[in-house]
Symmetry: C2
Subunit: 131 residues, 2 copies
DNA sequence: GCTTGACTTAGAGCACACTCTAAGATGTAA
DNA sequence: TTACATCTTAGAGTGTGCTCTAAGTCAAGC
């Protein structure tokens, strides 16, 4: 069988994505994932495309996008190419948010470095006094 | 009155820090802030030092430190200089977490940039076909 | 003196994002 | 065939971090 057409069980997708079967069904229920095909029986049969989409979702999630916004994005995706401009706008807004978040983290990092250095020196001096 | 010794009401601290009075009381209740002095009556009287501590807390929070860890840090801070080594360890662990978080965000940012470019080109081509 | 508004507390309620339970159906191995 | 694991659903429960409510006290302005 073509590896691209390989069908996967919910367990296999869970293992591949790091999500639990519970969470995969939850994401489908709330519309983050389109209704997965059921082949032969009532059980879900995922494709590699589905896994790709879930991995993209996880990246959106990791950047701090809310479920609400991911639902909107998923809905647009299902509506087809007509919605590309709106999706680009969403991605641009996300890009700006992530960029300013990174800037903020870099600022906080400076303070953390400063505190580590300063406190380390104080500890050193206290050690010297003891000896 | 010396500006450093200026006493502040909960409203003033709320305005200065961006937290609400509710949240300020909550943070005190759970030990993120030491019990604030009550002068003349039962009402809280904050000092500039208190505001400085709260601002530091907000930076810890912004880096994703949990309330539980902030409680631990606050407790150590109140115990004095003996706990400096443990606080340095906490800060080092936070530094590592923030650094790898920033790295991850930069990776995600690349994908977002790529998608924006790719989709923008697709949209452009669709526009050309229409005209 | 009275109203208005800010303060106090303990504790309830909320939004988010899962995470799990219960009860039943179905597939797989011995 | 029997046992057991895994699947299904709807819906309840959980952890985190607030956020608000209720009921009462207090102080300042009209």
């Amino acid at each position: 069988m073509d590896i691209q057409n390989k069908k996967l069980t919910i367990q296999e997708v869970a293992k591949a994505t790091g999500l639990t079967p519970h969470t995969l069904r939850y994401y489908e229920r709330i519309g983050l994932i389109h209704p997965i095909n059921r082949e032969e029986n009532t059980r879900r049969c995922y494709t590699m495309d589905d896994v790709g989409w879930i991995e993209f979702l996880l990246k959106l999630r990791a950047t701090g996008m809310s479920i609400k916004d991911m639902q909107r994005y998923a809905e647009l995706q299902r509506q087809g190419d007509e919605t590309l401009p709106e999706r680009v706008e969403m991605l641009k807004s996300l890009r700006d948010k992530v960029e300013s978040h990174i800037e903020e983290m870099n600022e906080h990092l400076k303070l953390i470095h400063y505190k580590i250095d300063y406190y380390s020196k104080v500890v050193e001096e206290r050690e010297l006094v003891k000896v």
